[in-house]
């Protein structure tokens, strides 16, 4: 039986009004400006851009304001907004070697060309709440130092490649098609291009937990942070009408090269293998986790035994998207009155049968005892 139920419009309208009032909070406190969010909460903005899979700091700031700081809800708003826009095409792959570097560190080589550039980081802070920040929030001007104009900062992974100790990136034919999970649903087994796209927009918390599990022994990655870099890269786009590539400006990205032990196999000598992480904005924890998970998901390709959740691509890739996950988990709170009604009837019936069986068994016992 299908029962159509109407009603609740007024309650919903009023609930949204109440939510808007609560979102605004105490009106004697100034309302948040989007610039305040994008300038002062940039790491939240970055997370929303990565998980919303849309690089636009102002939109992410609006999402954060609208969602009252619920970053998954904000990512959801970004995903919904992108569906309203036409797709112009695909960029040329960005070149992270040509980055304007704001941070670059390596945990594997102390004295590497270009040096260890700490940049703006929480590392080495003592994690003590700073009450001075609560009082005024003004920051001192940063120090500056002379730099070599022509200095190149090579990728760490290129440094040892002369010896062949680190696996090189596999050469690819120029016109190899690139999978796109926003156009085609994900199927398994998924190639690395699809896996990396999925991980780049995957939930930071989920990937962090999976990456952590590999370090604790569920998948044995034995990783070193070969290199982490943060900065601005140019985005180029091929314009059909012009017949050449045009620059679209620069975007902020964070990149991580994880280097992992590898015992070798029948076809490959013992060497270091690699996992890769790349996200829009500033997301260091996310790229590190992404690189760990990327490496674990290469288990099959490298001939490793698959016995841990993080090596199972269907498990990882099907559950990494927090917009999908929240949709399915949170739909449980929507009315299921009719579903539940039928379950209720079923359980009453089953209980009745159970009770009858029990009573019959009891009577049998009584009869046996009487004999």
């Amino acid at each position: 039986m299908y029962v159509a139920v109407k009603g609740g419009e007024k309650a919903i309208r009023n609930a949204h009004k109440l939510m808007a009032r609560d979102r605004r909070g105490d009106t004697s406190v100034p309302s948040l400006g989007l610039k305040q969010i994008s300038e002062q909460l940039y790491l939240s903005v970055s997370r929303v851009m990565a998980e919303g899979s849309l690089f636009d700091a102002e939109l992410a700031a609006l999402g954060i304001k609208q969602s009252r700081g619920d970053l998954i809800e904000a990512a959801f708003l970004m995903r919904a907004y992108r569906t309203t826009l036409p797709r112009f095409g695909y960029s040329k792959p960005i070149d992270t070697a040509k980055m304007l570097i704001r941070r670059r560190i390596s945990a594997t080589y102390k004295d590497l060309p270009g040096g260890q550039l700490l940049g703006p980081t929480f590392d080495y802070t003592q994690r003590l709440l700073d009450f001075k920040l609560a009082a005024d929030g003004e920051a001192p001007a940063p120090e500056t130092q002379e730099f070599e104009k022509e200095e190149v900062v090579p990728r760490v992974t290129d440094l040892l490649n002369d010896e062949g100790l680190i696996e090189p990136d596999e050469p690819i034919a120029p016109d190899t098609p690139v999978g796109d999970i926003t156009r085609e649903p994900l199927t398994f087994p998924a190639d690395r291009d699809l896996r990396l796209q999925n991980l780049a927009r995957g939930d930071e918390g989920f990937l962090l937990a999976l990456g952590y599990s590999t370090q604790r022994g569920f998948g044995r990655t034995h990783p070193f942070a070969g290199e982490i870099r943060l900065g601005e890269v140019e985005v180029d786009f091929f314009m059909e009408e012009l017949g050449f590539e045009v620059p679209l400006g620069t975007m902020t990205v964070t990149e991580c090269q994880m280097i992992n032990q590898f015992q070798g196999s029948a076809s490959a000598p013992p060497q270091f293998t690699r996992g890769y992480g790349l996200v829009p904005g500033q997301g260091e924890r996310k790229v590190m986790a992404m690189a760990l998970v990327d490496r674990s998901l290469r288990a099959e390709e490298l001939g490793e035994e698959i016995d841990s959740p993080t090596q199972d691509q269907e498990f990882v890739l099907s559950h990494s998207d927090n917009v999908q996950a929240t949709g399915f988990v949170e739909h449980l709170k929507l009315p299921h009155y009719v579903d539940f009604q039928s379950e209720l009837e079923l359980i009453r019936k089953v209980r009745k049968e159970w009770q009858e069986k029990r009573e019959a068994a009891e009577q049998e016992l009584v009869a046996e005892a009487a004999q």
Partner: protein
Amino acid sequence: MTASSLKEQSPEIAARQSAMGILAKASAQDLAETWKNLSLEPNYTVIRPAEIGLVMVRGRAGGTGAPFNMCEATVTRCVIALDDGTTGFGQALGRDKQKVLQAALVDALWQQSEHRDLIETKVLQPLASTQEQAENETRAEVAATKVDFFTMVRGE
């Protein structure tokens, strides 16, 4: 023919790309200001009105390997034509229609030999120098956070 071989063939295209790069990178405010200082009011027709859309930005596995789709980015683009038929293209990351319209006008004027010098000196050079200055400032600030290792020698 690939874009890079075109670039090698034509210094004209390379110069135009570099101009487009400066315009795309400029803040809307800086571009609006230099445009105003130019005091040119060319007649133009809009061929493609400023439109906001998406470009899927690609990275490469491992930095140099197979391309993959990292995330989309908002992009605005627009095409105009001057009275002599010269078309100008404006495009940049973000959602600023005024900025790409001005960029398209600058791109068109730059292609006219009678305006090129003016555009170079009054628009592109000032914008490029602002950008270079900001870049140098960033590099100087980052250089101050470069680690100087020193080794403590113990024993003899």
